[in-house]
Subunit: 364 residues, 2 copies
Amino acid sequence: MKFKAALQSLQTYEAGKPIELVVREFGISANEVIKLASNENPHGCSKKVQQCVAQKLASMHLYPDDSFYQLKEALGAKHKVDTSQIIIGAGSDQIIEFAIHAKCAKNDGILMAGVTFAMYEIYGRIAEAKIIRTKSSTHNLSEFTELYKQHSPSIIFLCVPNNPLGESLKVSDIQTFLKQINKECLVVIDGAYQEYATFKDEEMRISVAEFIRDFPNVLYLGTFSKVYGLGGMRVGYGIAQQEIIQTLYKLRPPFNITTLSLVAAIEALKDEEFIKYSLQDCFTQMKQYEDFCRQRGIRYIPSFANFITLFLDGLGDSTTLAQKMLEKGVIIRNLASYGLNAVRITIGTKEQNQRALSLMSALL
Amino acid sequence: MKFKAALQSLQTYEAGKPIELVVREFGISANEVIKLASNENPHGCSKKVQQCVAQKLASMHLYPDDSFYQLKEALGAKHKVDTSQIIIGAGSDQIIEFAIHAKCAKNDGILMAGVTFAMYEIYGRIAEAKIIRTKSSTHNLSEFTELYKQHSPSIIFLCVPNNPLGESLKVSDIQTFLKQINKECLVVIDGAYQEYATFKDEEMRISVAEFIRDFPNVLYLGTFSKVYGLGGMRVGYGIAQQEIIQTLYKLRPPFNITTLSLVAAIEALKDEEFIKYSLQDCFTQMKQYEDFCRQRGIRYIPSFANFITLFLDGLGDSTTLAQKMLEKGVIIRNLASYGLNAVRITIGTKEQNQRALSLMSALL
């Protein structure tokens, strides 16, 4: 059977490996497998969220309130925006999909960093858009500006902090950049890891309300998958001026998050103590990795997110390292598919990090 | 900001109204609201599923096993197909989306019944496809054949039983129809309500393994949202020959169902007693509606699903009836947006049906 031509060259995306796979393939018991591959919060989610979801289990047959009224009210209060400026997605991934389908006709350009979140390109290629990347792997706004002028893209993605590399951008630099961009070009600011960046450095703090007021072409993305500890529940959101949100709504399938995800996300916003503890512990733990790198002379990118990217350079091959660690029950992310001889490691709990580091120490 | 032209005429889909809305708007307590608008299983889901999900609440932070290994094994055993012939979606809606994006370039045709599941058209219009509908509201295979020959569509949707009307097609008639269709045309058989049709009449039973063996251009869709009682958990699946499934996989975003949904679906397949009870009770209860219609001379379509569609004809206006029932806490589905003066009512529990019928009795 013939399919759309654009799909021929498209590779199926391979996500971080799950614990279940290691159990199946290497016969290691689930309790002994450590997953540091998908940037989940190693502390799980708030106990209060778990209690709340437990009370809702008799409602799994019912579709959620598709207006997501309560969740949008809570997000509106948090970000100081109107609920009409918010759209909820099955992870912020889904908002990326909506944005691309809303803006990109065939051959329209999408501009992004040299190495960044893989779904921008995947959704872009499904829409038959032209993918434009900066030469630099990390975000370099001068290169972005130059390529913007050269190609007039329909969409620009800024991933701040950047996944999978971890660097971020100062708010003032983003603002200067945005002033040069035509209001017809949609600029998506993917803030999936913003809570981490803001905690580490106030100069990174994006005031969403200000941004969408000053730049009506900005779409900000947030998620419950990272510091809120709900990666498995698939809830993200987009914030922009109402005109953009209304258009994205046309692309949204009904009931796009689950009944339990909705309850979990609403409750997760309330437990600020849990968020604060998770952020603090992340950066405390990250020091272990930084010390390890410095002692060993391993190059790394100072990270503003809950993971750290290590370049192996002459020390070996990232595919081999990731595979050997996998066989010992420690899952990390090999970045070979991004064209890098590097691994990305999620900051885990103290014990998880110690195990990962001692294993790496033996293998490198 | 300018968006893709195809979106201008696209209306935002309005789903069945949630209980929460009635509570908010009419101040009726949640316990007193009856929702017979979205074809959920009124018995909820299996208690065993609830227990299983309860044990998984500490894993909400972890993305699911993205291979969906266990679920595909269980579905493979149920439908006697290989796991490589299965794809999992966030509801079968998402498989509809994949199928349309895989097959339809701009102006390609999509053929469907006059009145059928709304998402076929919505996803079709996003892909800028041409929507072709039979004149008859219900499935008329002679009209399908004629329009197929005239337009050579890329995709044909057969919704059996048909939502929102409830009629179904005999397996032998579907087979005769499929023999005339070129193998380049994808035929999607949407079996969201198949369990109900098969329970009512063996002549409706689709053997999925046989179908995809005999017709390599068939994609069968199933869901956990209806008789399995997991509407709020968003899990559906597609079954087809491997060539089709591999292509749909290219369009699938990673982690497209939640960690709890995955556990729930695997467990739901095991509790056959619950399914049998749900099916039996549905058709026992449906008699109340049929008797009511016969006594009142109300036209209805004999239903092979868990809902019944009543045509109001000279008896009044469906929008008024649905609104008046809503104000009394009974949510039914007005079909005015489908161009019909009709309402679709989900078969509820005995008590729910009695309340709905006595209210309708007073209002008509």
